[in-house]
Symmetry: C2
Subunit: 84 residues, 2 copies
Amino acid sequence: MYKVEVIVNYKPGILNPEAKTINNALHSLGYDSIEGVKAGKFFELDFPEDMEETEVEKIADEVCDKLLSNPVIEDYTFKIAKES
Amino acid sequence: MYKVEVIVNYKPGILNPEAKTINNALHSLGYDSIEGVKAGKFFELDFPEDMEETEVEKIADEVCDKLLSNPVIEDYTFKIAKES
């Protein structure tokens, strides 16, 4: 089985209220050593192992672009791991 | 600088409506090769590079447990990378 791990994050410069809130909470709790926080989404997609890796990559890229992210305000990265 | 990448996912057996919705959408769009979907959260925490890695690990673990996840229904994993 192929496992594709996708991370979707806001593009630089896009205001992220969730990350801001976490950052404020960390400082209220005294975790002042943390200098920055990003908050995004994580997805894992499973593909059957009899597929070609290039095909998995093509489909994963399409799905990230069409369904899992909003390309106007978000960037995505993914990595493919083959598990037996 | 240390970058700590945190992934928070629902524990096995906890119903995740977001993952279910994405799964349904994928099948409606014809992506039938995708056998399973997980949906969770991603965080990145930045720590100053003059800290000890053991201290970064201790603080990251506390923050994940107290603030970034709900330990009743969610699991977290994190990895620490040192960037120059």
